[in-house]
Symmetry: C2
Subunit: 337 residues, 2 copies
């Protein structure tokens, strides 16, 4: 069997150089040399054994993107627009840096522990809400990990977060500035410590600033699906007391708009709507959706880079990255006369 050493000897280069070509870190090698080495590799039909390497190095070069299976989320990993955009960006970054991506949904901390140790995963990107024992398990593994959209207390944990509270605040404040006073809050279930709770807190802070008492009958929670969103839209069509709606996700906002439209209620003439995410849906609704911008692709890049920096023992300036949000003004809000 041909080894890395054989290839290096024949090309007259170091083993590291061949390794860079083999593991797709080609930018570190001159194009000419890349061609020369690839030619030898192809002729000799060389493929490094990742399993052997994994046993030798005690890590696999696989980074896992882990989602949490719950009764509410029965198995979706990349099914929604945020996750598909986020994972897309992680795959690209990981590949460019010579690593490999495994995606996996797990039910509990024991499953994560077993998955990570049996594969000797090089790093973990945990998306969504997990209970505290997950974080204990994860940090006990002793491998780099990054938490996405998880509000945990541990200052040692690497996190990529969003200004969720501010997002909820500026969305609601925008509606208030346009004269709206009776504003609905629509979201999936508000779990303590989750991103939705932060956005909800922002909603309440804005109301408070304007001296508007919080009214629980204006809070609507349901699953994040198109069908549930449309159902809520049809329901909100009957709530003539409400003039503004803040939805915690664009897909929910788009569903609400479709449901309102089915009942002959026009946006923004009859009701104003603000979303959250600024994904492509916000540009497909008619009118286009005024929404809070977050950058899912950038989240993916930053999360991957935090893992890579740990793997390479590079200094990490910021363990807690909080991405900024801002409001994008489009056509779904009208000032209240």
């Amino acid at each position: 069997m041909v080894t890395l050493k054989d290839i290096a000897a024949e090309a007259g280069v170091s083993i590291t150089t061949v390794s860079n070509v083999v593991h797709n870190r080609k930018s570190r090698v001159s194009p000419e040399l890349v061609r020369k080495i690839e030619k030898i590799i192809q002729r000799e039909h060389y493929a490094p054994s990742m399993s052997a390497r994994s046993l030798a190095n005690d890590q696999s070069n696989i980074i896992g993107v882990i989602t949490h299976l719950t009764p509410q989320n029965t198995g979706s990993t990349v099914g929604d627009p945020f996750m598909s955009s986020f994972v897309d960006s992680v795959e690209k970054r990981i590949r460019e840096e010579g690593y490999y991506l495994m995606i996996r949904a797990v039910e509990d901390a024991a499953e994560l522990d077993s998955l990570s140790r049996s594969w000797r995963l090089s790093g973990l990107i945990l998306t969504g809400m997990f209970q505290d024992d997950f974080f204990q398990t994860t940090s006990a593994l002793g491998i780099p990990y990054v938490l996405i959209d998880s509000y945990v207390e541990d200052p040692e944990a690497c996190c990529v977060l969003l200004e969720d509270e501010k997002g909820g605040y500026i969305a609601t404040k925008y509606l208030l500035e346009k004269g709206h006073r009776a504003i609905a809050f629509a979201s999936p279930s508000i779990r303590p410590g989750g991103v939705i709770e932060k956005r909800f807190i922002g909603y309440r802070r804005a109301l408070e600033e304007y001296g508007i008492p919080f009214d629980p009958s204006r809070v609507f929670t349901q699953e994040i699906t198109v069908e549930e969103g449309k159902k809520l839209g049809r329901q909100l069509a009957g709530r003539t007391d409400l003039t503004g709606i803040f939805a915690s996700a664009d897909i929910l906002a788009a569903g609400i708009m479709a449901g309102l439209s089915e009942r002959g209620v026009n946006v923004p003439e009859d009701k104003s709507v603000v979303g959250f995410d600024d994904n492509y849906l916000a540009q497909l609704t008619v009118p286009c959706l005024t929404t809070i911008h977050q950058d899912a692709k950038r989240k993916g890049i930053l999360a991957t880079d935090l893992i890579l920096k740990q793997l390479r023992h590079e200094p990490i300036e910021e363990k807690n990255i909080v991405l900024p949000v801002y409001l994008v003004e489009r056509g779904s809000v009208l000032p209240l006369r």
Copy 2:
């Protein structure tokens, strides 16, 4: 170090039973026994080494979902609604069956060859268009593979396809039956042997049946992005000669509808639109989109099952699965008076 055998001995069960629990094939074991075995595993902190197992079995239990990097597709793996829904369903099925999912974009056949051999991948799911040398490389690997939406001649290759030609035909015929005669065809670039070409051939067949000469000025190709779709919608608003539009993807149809609306052209009153996919976008547009249904989740399940059957040496009744399409009538088409 604790071995599988130790756990089995302590639980008083076979190694296979412990293995089923470890590799998440829990449905084959009684809940009571699962709990008992998991308790021992946790106490003993047991994790099987996948690398050692991979070296011993000459396969890793990893199934790769591979996409093709092209100048048109610079790195997206799960970024679009079809792929996100497809991969979501593959991950779930693979997990339930005790396998693991790697997603990866590759540039050429050599990269696929090296990836597959170095990881000892257990199977490959190839999505999208590849050149012929890809299929030669893939079959030379000697591992199970499935081609998704690839029209290849090889009767030995496992494929999951769609009635693409029929989809194009019934979409166009539906518009013709409603009295439309000047019908646009909107799609990404029409590559020979690709799914879009099949849908295009269906479009032309329907026109021919109705004795309508093909007019190349009614064919519009552009990238599949929201922005390009909206641009095309604005452009089509000026084409008063055209009363019907068949778009080869829902995301394109939704973009076109948004672009038409920007120019004050109403769907379906001024122009009728038919899409293709029947993903969630078709229920978010106003009016809801009349479209050709395909089942991306089912494609994922069938593709995974074709790999698993090959791995388990089970008989395969159908190597070429062609999923049916049908038209879903919603609100975006009006009979032409």
